[in-house]
C-alpha cells in the first residue's frame, strides 16, 4: 500500500515541481505602475450602549484601498487612498493617505512633497517627540493600527551625511489629531463636569492659516555601532484642543517641543529612552487656567523575545506637568486637572504561531496615578496572501471619569474585520 502510494505520488510530485512556479514571470520590476490594495469590511459594537451616543456600534464600514507607485525618470509618484462607506457617519468617504512626489536633490538630499504619514521617535503607541497627527478615533474603534497615524500635507526634506542626518518637515497648515468629538465616542468635559457628546460634534476652530501657524518638525539623528541617537525640535500647537478661549470655545494652544531619544541593544533585547519638554508658548508660567501647562515627558522601554515567537515589551512613561501649583491655584476645576506626575505603564505581549499565520497580541496601558486602564487584545489569522481576518477588543476601566482612559468607560467594544488583499 505504501509502495503504491509512493508510485502514485512520485509522478504527481514531478508534475508539481514542474508546475510549481507556473510561469517565468518575475514581474516587470518598477518599470510600470503596479496597483495593489485591499477590500475590507469592519464591524464593531459596544459591550453596553453609551446613553450619550446614538450608535451602539463603533465600527460599520466598507473600505477599498488602492495603492500605486510610478517612477517616471528620477521622480517617484506615490498614491495610497481609501474609499468606502461608513454607516456610523452615514456617509461615503475618500481618505487619501499618501499622494506624494519624491525626488533627490544631489546625492544626499531626499525631498518628499504632498500628503503623507510621518513617524519618528522610539515609543510603542506612546508618543513624545512624534507630533505628527494621530487618529485616536480609529485607534479606539477597532481599525487597523496603521490608522492611528493620520496623514498630513507636508514637505519633508531629509539630508544624509556621515556626521549626522537631518529630517525637516514643514506642514504649512496645522494638522490636529483626530480627537474625540462625541460622534463615535463621548468625552469628558470639565465645563460640564461629565461626559458629553455635543451635536453637532465638537469641531475646535483651528489656528489661522499663516506661515508662523504652520508646523515645523526637525530631527537630527545618527546611528553609531548599533546605537540610535536623535534630537528633536518642534514648533506648532498641542495636537488636541486642550485650551479654551474667553468664550469657553476649545482651541489649540501654541507649543514648542524639544527632545532626545536613544535606542540600542541591551542584553537579550532592545532598550529605548526618550525625553521631551513641551513648552506652552502662551502660558510659560502656568498661571493661565485656559491654557495647558508646559510639561516634561519621559519614556523608558525594553523589549525582548522571551520565548521563540513570543515577544514582551514594557514601557514606563511619565508626564510631569510643570508649574502645577500655579495651575491648581488658578484652575476653575482643580479636581479635574491632571496630577503633577502622571505615571503610565505599558505592556505588549505578542505571540506568533503557524509560520506567522496566527498572531495573538495584548497591549495594556495602566496608569497607577490616573487609576485607569486600557486593554487591546487582538487576534489575526492570515489565511492566505489574499484573505485575513482580525478580531479584537478595546477595554477601558477607571476610577475617575476625567482621566484619559476613564472617560472611555462606555466606549469598550469588540470588533471583527475581514480583509481581501489584491
Amino acid at each position: 500500500m505504501k509502495l503504491l502510494a509512493l508510485l502514485l505520488f512520485v509522478p504527481v510530485a514531478g508534475l508539481a515541481q514542474g508546475d510549481l512556479w507556473d510561469d517565468d514571470d518575475w514581474g516587470d520590476e518598477e518599470q510600470t505602475a503596479v496597483w495593489s490594495g485591499f477590500l475590507e469590511a469592519g464591524a464593531g459594537t459596544r459591550f453596553r450602549s453609551d446613553p450619550l451616543v446614538e450608535h451602539r456600534n463603533t465600527l460599520e464600514e466598507l473600505r477599498w484601498r488602492i495603492e500605486s507607485q510610478w517612477q517616471p525618470s528620477r521622480i517617484t509618484l506615490g498614491l495610497a487612498a481609501d474609499g468606502g462607506y461608513d454607516s456610523i457617519e452615514n456617509d461615503w468617504y475618500v481618505d487619501i493617505r499618501d499622494l506624494t512626489l519624491s525626488f533627490a536633490l544631489g546625492s544626499r538630499i531626499d525631498v518628499k512633497v504632498g500628503r503623507q504619514v510621518q513617524t519618528w521617535g522610539t515609543g510603542d503607541l506612546v508618543f513624545l517627540n512624534d507630533l505628527f497627527p494621530k487618529d485616536f478615533v480609529s485607534f479606539f474603534s477597532g481599525r487597523e493600527d496603521e490608522y492611528l497615524k493620520a496623514p498630513g500635507n507636508s514637505i519633508r526634506v531629509s539630508q544624509y551625511s556621515p556626521l549626522f542626518n537631518v529630517d525637516f518637515s514643514w506642514t504649512p497648515v496645522f494638522e490636529p489629531d483626530d480627537y474625540l468629538t462625541g460622534e463615535r465616542f463621548s468625552f469628558f468635559s470639565p465645563l460640564a463636569g461629565d461626559n458629553v457628546a455635543p451635536l453637532p460634534p465638537l469641531s475646535a476652530s483651528e489656528p489661522n492659516e499663516s506661515f508662523s501657524n504652520g508646523e515645523f518638525s526637525l530631527r537630527l539623528f545618527r546611528t553609531v555601532a548599533g546605537r540610535e541617537y536623535a534630537v528633536y525640535v518642534y514648533r506648532g500647537f498641542f495636537k488636541q484642543p486642550r485650551a479654551l478661549t474667553t468664550t469657553l470655545e476649545p482651541v489649540f494652544a501654541p507649543m514648542n517641543s524639544f527632545g532626545a531619544s536613544l535606542r540600542r541593544p541591551a542584553g537579550p533585547g532592545l532598550l529605548n529612552a526618550e525625553v521631551s519638554y513641551y513648552e506652552s508658548r502662551n502660558d510659560r508660567s502656568g498661571t493661565d487656567p485656559f491654557m495647558p501647562n508646559s510639561q516634561f515627558r519621559l519614556l523608558a522601554g525594553y523589549e525582548w523575545e522571551a520565548k521563540p515567537n513570543f515577544t514582551v515589551g514594557l514601557q514606563y512613561y511619565l508626564e510631569w506637568t510643570l508649574d502645577h501649583t500655579a495651575l491648581m491655584e488658578n484652575s476653575s476645576w482643580p479636581q479635574f486637572e491632571p496630577d503633577e506626575y502622571r505615571h503610565l505603564l505599558t505592556n505588549r505581549l505578542t505571540y506568533r504561531a503557524g509560520l506567522d499565520k496566527y498572531t495573538w497580541s495584548l497591549f495594556t496601558f495602566f496608569s497607577p496615578t490616573d487609576q485607569d486602564v486600557y486593554l487591546r487584545p487582538v487576534f489575526t489569522y492570515r489565511h492566505s496572501d489574499q484573505w485575513s481576518v482580525t478580531t479584537g477588543a478595546n477595554l477601558f476601566g477607571g476610577n475617575h471619569q476625567h482621566t484619559f482612559f476613564g472617560q472611555l468607560q462606555d466606549a469598550g467594544n469588540v470588533y471583527l474585520r475581514l480583509r481581501f488583499n489584491y
Partner: protein
Amino acid sequence: MQRPFMLTLAGLTLALGVHAEPLTDADDITARANLAAYYSGADGRSEVRMIISDAQGRQQRRQFTVLRRDVDDGGDQQFLVVFSQPSDVRGTTFLVDKHVDKDDDRWLYLPGLDLVKRISAGDKRTSFVGAHVFYEDVSGRRPSDDTHEFVETTDEFYVLRHVPLDAQSVEFANYITWIDRDTFLPMKIEYQNAAGKAYRLVEVLGVEEFDGYATVTTSRVSNILSGGTTDMQFRYIRYDVGMPADVFTERSLRNPPRDWLARPTD
C-alpha cells in the same frame, strides 16, 4: 589594500582545493562553506521568490530583492531586503547589520506607518516572512556558534556534523551538512532534534555560476514533521557591483536605492 589580497588568496586556495587531497579538518571545511554560501564577491544582488506550501498544499508567495555587502570577507556583512510581493508586504524593507562578535542589528520599515521598527536580537530561528526559512538562513549562522565534527568524505561531499555551543538558544540538537567538494556549497542540511530525529531539511536543487562564483539558484526548506515546504528561486544574480556602505542605512529603508535595486538587463 588588504581586501583584494585576501580575496585573491581565498580564490587561490579554493581553486587549489579542487584538485588537492580531500580535506579532513571540519573547522576549515565549515569556514570555506560559510564563504562559499554567504561571501561570494565583495558584494552581490539577487532577486528571490518563494512558494510556501503547507501540509494541505495551500500556497503563499513572497518576492524580494536582496542586496549584500561584505564589511570583511568571512566577517561582518550588511543586507538590504526589499519586498515586492505579496501586496500586503509590498514596499516593506528589512536591513541587517550582521556581526560576528555580537548580535546582529536588524530594522524593519513598515511603509503604511512610516515606521522604522527595530527587531530584537532573539528571534533568529523563527520564520522569515511566514516561510519555512529562518532569519538565520537568510544572513547565515556564525560558524563560531557551533562545534564542527568531520563525519566522512564521499565522492561528492564532505559530510560534517555541527553541535551548538548554546543548546538553549536553538531548536535543534545538531545538524549535518553535505558540502560539495568542488564548490564548497552546502548542498543539504539536515537538522535533528534531541531524540535524534531529522525534522528539518534544507536542500539545494540547482546551482549555476555567476561572475565566477558557484551560486544556489533553486532550493527547498522542508519541515519534515509538519509536511510543509518553502521552495526558493534566485535570479538576476550579480557579484562585485561596487555597492558602497551607505546603501545600507535608514535612508534606504525609507527610500530604497533604485540604482542598486534595478534589475540587470544583460
